[in-house]
């Protein structure tokens, strides 16, 4: 038989525990509300908006197997690699547009990365003028969806090389990767394993015998 005073004490402790739990729960809820009220929902740092600049895009035309410059005003980042990716992204957007003269699906998302590397053997020049190799990493989806044919594939390669050279004059050579790996051809024809001379691409590859 439990003594009466012990039963009363147990009940008092149980009631006190429940009251303390309720008070703690209430305080926790209030603290959470205070925290939410004090939080600023706007970004802590505004995103950097690149200044709009003129970019020269070398747009391909299937009708006469040519590439022609088109000057557009685009927000271009300061970083050269981001800049290269931005101009190529815009070029691919033009190709993917319904009224494109060189229809290729994909758009700006087809460029995974662009890396700029100093060319070996050009150490004698100052770093500001030293030639660079651009490594363009295309997505597998872009390559899989590219129309097959010598003419259309060659035009795509030429327009990429010429656009890079027009906007980043230090880029003299271009190589291609697909999903980070070497790839034999663009869509069965244009060789993606060789190094392209960016400056000569537009000038020589369109010449007629």
């Amino acid at each position: 038989m439990i003594p009466r005073h012990q039963t009363v004490l147990l009940v008092i402790l149980l009631v006190a525990s429940l009251i303390m739990g309720a008070v703690l729960w209430n305080q926790l809820r209030r603290a959470h509300e205070r925290l939410l009220r004090g939080e600023v929902s706007v970004p802590t740092q505004a995103p950097l908006v690149a200044p709009a600049e003129q970019a020269t895009l070398m747009v391909a035309d299937d009708a006469d197997n040519s590439i022609a410059p088109r000057i557009l005003t685009l927000p271009l980042p300061e970083n050269p690699e981001a800049r290269a990716r931005a101009v190529l992204g815009k070029l691919f957007d033009l190709d993917a547009a319904p009224d494109s003269t060189h229809p290729v699906p994909g758009g700006a998302g087809s460029i995974a990365q662009v890396f700029l590397l100093p060319i070996a053997g050009a150490r004698g020049k100052t770093s500001a003028a030293s030639p660079q190799l651009a490594v363009v990493n295309l997505t597998g989806a872009f390559v899989a969806g590219h129309p097959s044919g010598i003419e259309t594939e060659t035009l795509t390669v030429r327009s990429i090389c010429a656009t890079l050279n027009a906007n980043l004059p230090r880029v003299t050579e271009v190589r291609f990767l697909v999903d980070g790996q070497p790839h034999a051809t663009l869509a069965g024809h244009a060789d993606l394993t060789r190094t392209y001379l960016a400056a000569q691409t537009a000038a020589t590859e369109g010449t007629q015998p």
Binding site: N65, G149, E151, D191, R194, L197, E205
Partner: protein, 241 residues
């Protein structure tokens, strides 16, 4: 004994020279004297096996290229021209193997045969492509991947003859340069011939390559051009860079 030593020395010298030739394929394929050469044409039907190439209506480019090769070969053989082909069946042949076959043949002309859907803007046409490599003078120690650079001049001349014959046959021709691995490695006057047949009326996304009239006209013009190339002295020994 001394004579034997001399013989051994002589044999050793020959062995050294032979091994040098083995290490430098361009040297090893130096042509024989002009009088000993025969006129050989290499036909390279593109793609094959699981490499379908472009989709042309109901047919793949690989089938169209092979059919084109068979027709052209029969016309050339009938005109007394020796023909070497890089594939005779639906087989997957690597680009470098194609170039190896062509280079071993010491060919006077190499044609890489392709097919593509006709342009939305243009009608049926033939596109002639040279290698986009810059021209080089010295052919002796050229790397395999850029071996065609020493042959650009002769390839340009061959493209001119093909262009002339096709134009005379009433075929629309466009000329250009393209980066093609097989052609870039060939040590012969080489041109990629891409046939873009008529797009069927109302069909916007694909072309049916089964335009036999156009194809026959093109094949006959190509055969006539190669006969002219032979009569113009397109033999290997006379024009080797």
């Amino acid at each position: 004994m001394r004579e034997m030593y001399h013989r051994r020395g002589f044999s050793g010298t020959i062995a050294v020279f032979l091994s040098l030739f083995a290490f430098f394929p361009a040297l090893a394929q130096a042509p024989p004297a002009p009088g000993a050469t025969r006129f050989v044409v290499v036909l390279d039907p593109a793609h094959g096996g699981d490499d379908l190439g472009a989709k042309l209506g109901s047919r793949a480019e690989k089938d169209h290229a092979l059919a084109l090769s068979v027709k052209l070969r029969s016309l050339l053989v009938a005109r007394g021209i020796a023909v070497v082909t890089t594939r005779e069946s639906d087989a997957n042949v690597d680009a470098l193997v194609r170039a190896e076959i062509a280079n071993r043949a010491n060919a006077a002309a190499c044609l890489s045969l392709h097919a593509a859907p006709a342009s939305v803007h243009n009608g049926p046409a033939v596109h002639l492509f040279l290698s986009s490599l810059p021209a080089a003078r010295d052919a002796r120690l050229t790397p395999w991947r850029t071996a065609q650079s020493a042959w650009i001049e002769r390839s340009t001349a061959l493209a001119g003859v093909l262009n002339s014959a096709l134009t005379q046959a009433g075929v629309t021709v466009t000329l250009g340069r393209a980066p093609l691995a097989a052609v870039d490695s060939m040590t012969c006057p080489a041109v990629a011939v891409e046939i873009a047949p008529q797009r069927p009326a109302g069909e916007q996304n694909a072309a049916d390559a089964d335009d036999s009239g156009f194809e026959t006209k093109v094949v006959q013009a190509l055969a006539a051009a190669l006969v002219e190339w032979r009569s113009d002295g397109g033999q290997l020994g006379e024009h080797q860079p």
